[in-house]
Symmetry: C2
Subunit: 189 residues, 2 copies
């Protein structure tokens, strides 16, 4: 056995994360295994098992490397316009990087792995909830949204519907974000 250090080696870590994303792109999440990731990243399987408990955990970390678009909220003074920029950024992240396929795989695995689902909440959703709440709070103080708006539910709607469409393989584009914001901000009646 090679003498592998207990502390994560940054180059190996990055090779493992990159390998998992490229393998998903090429073969799909369901074909992914620790063995395949190890081979592609040129590391031993034990190196992966030492740092991550499961394939899902590797992929979750790979997916959350590029979470900036999910957690960064611009503040130009116009909440509606800023939300549009932020949501279009997420759609771009989903449709132009490995994030979409990786997130779909993690959510699939999470349906029978509650620990993984909790990690998704902690690593992805909770970050977004916190940042959204702060940005919405400023918007409320400025009178851009009503004082009685349920901010948690507004967030569920904006991000939940994007995830719903992602998991169903439905199209996601900027025009859809406009339709979504129109209902969420102006209501149906």
């Amino acid at each position: 056995m090679a003498n592998v250090p207990a502390v994560r080696n940054e180059r190996s870590r990055q090779a493992i994360l990159d390998a998992s994303i490229s393998l998903i792109d090429e073969f799909g999440y369901d074909k992914l295994s620790i063995e395949a990731i190890a081979r592609r990243a040129c590391v031993g399987k034990q190196t992966i098992y030492r740092w991550w408990p499961s394939v899902g955990a590797v992929v979750l970390e790979a997916a959350t490397q590029s979470l900036d678009p999910v957690v960064t909220f611009p503040d130009t003074g116009d909440f509606f316009a800023d939300m549009r920029s932020q949501l279009v950024g997420i759609v771009k992240l989903i449709t132009t990087t490995g994030f979409g396929a990786a997130y779909r795989g993690v959510m699939a695995a999470g349906q029978s792995d509650s620990g993984l689902l909790e990690a998704v909440y902690r690593e992805v959703i909770e970050q977004n909830v916190t940042a959204f709440r702060a940005r919405a709070s400023v918007a409320r103080e400025r009178g851009e949204i009503r004082a009685d708006t349920d901010v948690a539910t507004l967030r569920d709607i904006l991000y939940g519907v994007i995830e719903y469409r992602l998991l169903h393989g439905m199209s996601l584009e900027a025009a859809y974000i406009d339709a979504l914001l129109a209902v969420a901000f102006d209501g149906a009646r």
Copy 2:
């Protein structure tokens, strides 16, 4: 080999569907197999393979047996109140029957089986889209929702967010439906 008729035997069919739901309840979707369903339903594996292409297809048919709450839209003359009844009915279906666990399993399998995902669209979502559009159209004529409301997006919001919370294992209750309807109908600003 037993001489199995090509036409579906209704009693066997029901036994197979019931077996798949009870096995998911007991052991989880990821432990489900054609073999386990066959054993529980007291039928041969070939009987199942003759009628369904995969475990996911069996479970989708089991889940969609009780779709009445998803596709039946009351019309008491009050669209908002009727939507509340309909959505509370879906939450009840999810939380008190095997539908929730079965749907989660099918969506998990669908992330690496595009045929199954298309079947979910055809058997579940499209039915709901059609029935919702008809009910919303009456509401629009009566002036209960604005003429410029994007009805397809309104539907995505109401059902997509429920599915989002289901797949993340988040709580679903009638009070949440009230918060959801408040944003969707009255908007955040």
